[in-house]
């Protein structure tokens, strides 16, 4: 008997969220990492308010990128190790439903907290007062892209013993467009220039990866569980 796609999606999503909440370290560690990386910069480049203001968008986004990367392994690794992944692939629902549910869970667990915490870090870095809305919007549109593209990388490397370093080599180049347009939007906002063009491109990236990543992830998972 086949479940409707929506039921299958929500069942898997609920399962992943329950697991994540019972394993809180997994949620907290990437956020702590995010905060620590961001707070290292004033110590590294000096506390001059002007310098910080200039580098703030880049720093926040690069830190968000790295902490997403750190949390990516969890997306499929545990499931791979205990055999749940192959069971999930054998469930009577198309693979893309499974993949989308898992990526959504990952974003809710890692992307959303980043967005909530980002404005506070903006204050630490003396982010320009006009940039906060752009920061939030760019993160809101951009972090799902990070989860989607990252999932392709994890799916390819989940079966490997030493996948960690390889994962960053595969995934980070793909993150470049998001980084450029997101920081561009925040910069433009700080100069009181319109930034909806930047956001539109991030939105295009989001829809593009949303349509294509599930298929890439699906076939990559089939290779990895082989």
């Amino acid at each position: 008997m086949q479940l409707s796609y929506r039921r299958a999606f929500s069942t898997i999503l609920k399962r992943d969220l329950v697991i994540a909440f019972r394993h809180r370290d997994d949620i907290l560690n990437p956020i702590l990492f995010f905060i620590i990386v961001v707070s290292l910069f004033p110590l590294g480049v000096g506390p001059a308010a002007n310098t910080l203001m200039k580098i703030a968008p880049g720093v926040i986004w690069v830190a968000a990128l790295l902490s997403t990367l750190l949390s990516l392994e969890r997306l499929f690794k545990h499931d791979y190790n205990d055999g749940s992944l192959e069971q999930l692939l054998l469930m009577p629902c198309p693979t893309f439903v499974l993949v989308l549910a898992k990526i959504t869970a990952h974003w809710l667990i890692t992307g959303l907290p980043l967005i909530i915490i980002a404005p506070f870090l903006g204050v630490l870095l003396n982010l320009h007062q006009d940039s906060y809305v752009a920061l939030m919007l760019s993160l809101l549109l951009g972090t799902p892209v990070l989860s989607l593209l990252g999932a392709i990388g994890v799916a390819l490397t989940v079966g490997l013993k030493k996948g960690g370093v390889l994962l960053s080599l595969l995934v980070l180049p793909l993150y470049i467009p998001v980084l450029i347009f997101a920081t561009g939007a925040i910069d433009a906002a700080s100069m009181n220039l319109p930034y909806n063009g930047h956001l539109a491109i991030i939105a295009a990236l989001f829809f593009g990866s949303l349509t294509l990543a599930p298929f890439a992830v699906g076939s990559a998972l089939k290779v990895s569980t082989n």
Partner: protein, 153 residues
């Protein structure tokens, strides 16, 4: 509906919707002007289509041709100042304090990146010579009067 057809329908429709969304947002973005690249005329008068003008203190990139006869070098330091123009009438002054690239010469197209210190002066942190895509020996170039190439900005 049998599961196979249901799946195919789901895939085809989601790909179509996805492609439409990507195309829509990209087209919207292309109509938005979000370039921080200005020509001298645009620095002074604002961009022709959107009227966006750089503000003093903003970090921008300006591209144009070095006005012939405008290069003033300081005899004791590396300081150099020159005027930049494009096909329009306005010129702006670029100040720079590093070694200029070999291709830098009067009439040459350059891109300067730096901070706008007044509405027609740029303190450049970087000056890069932009060479064109034409390759030819010197004799032919001379014959064609290539030295004064019209600006392409």
């Amino acid at each position: 509906m049998n599961p196979r057809r249901k799946k195919r329908l789901a895939i085809v429709s989601s790909v179509l919707i996805g492609a439409a969304a990507v195309a829509g947002f990209s087209l919207y973005a292309l109509n938005e002007n979000f370039d921080l690249f200005f020509t001298p005329t645009e620095v002074v008068n604002g961009k022709a289509d959107s009227g966006i003008m750089p503000v003093v203190g903003q970090r921008i990139r300006v591209g144009g041709m070095v006005v012939v006869g405008s290069v003033k070098r300081d005899s004791e330091s590396l300081k150099v100042a020159f005027k930049l123009k494009d096909s329009g009438s306005e010129t702006i002054t670029i100040k720079y304090e590093k070694i200029l690239p070999d291709l830098f010469r009067e009439g040459q197209g350059i891109v300067a990146q730096g901070i706008l210190t007044s509405n027609d002066t740029l303190e450049a942190s970087e000056v890069l010579a932009k060479h064109d895509e034409e390759y030819m020996p010197k004799e032919i170039a001379d014959a064609m009067g290539k030295e004064h190439k019209k600006p392409t900005y």
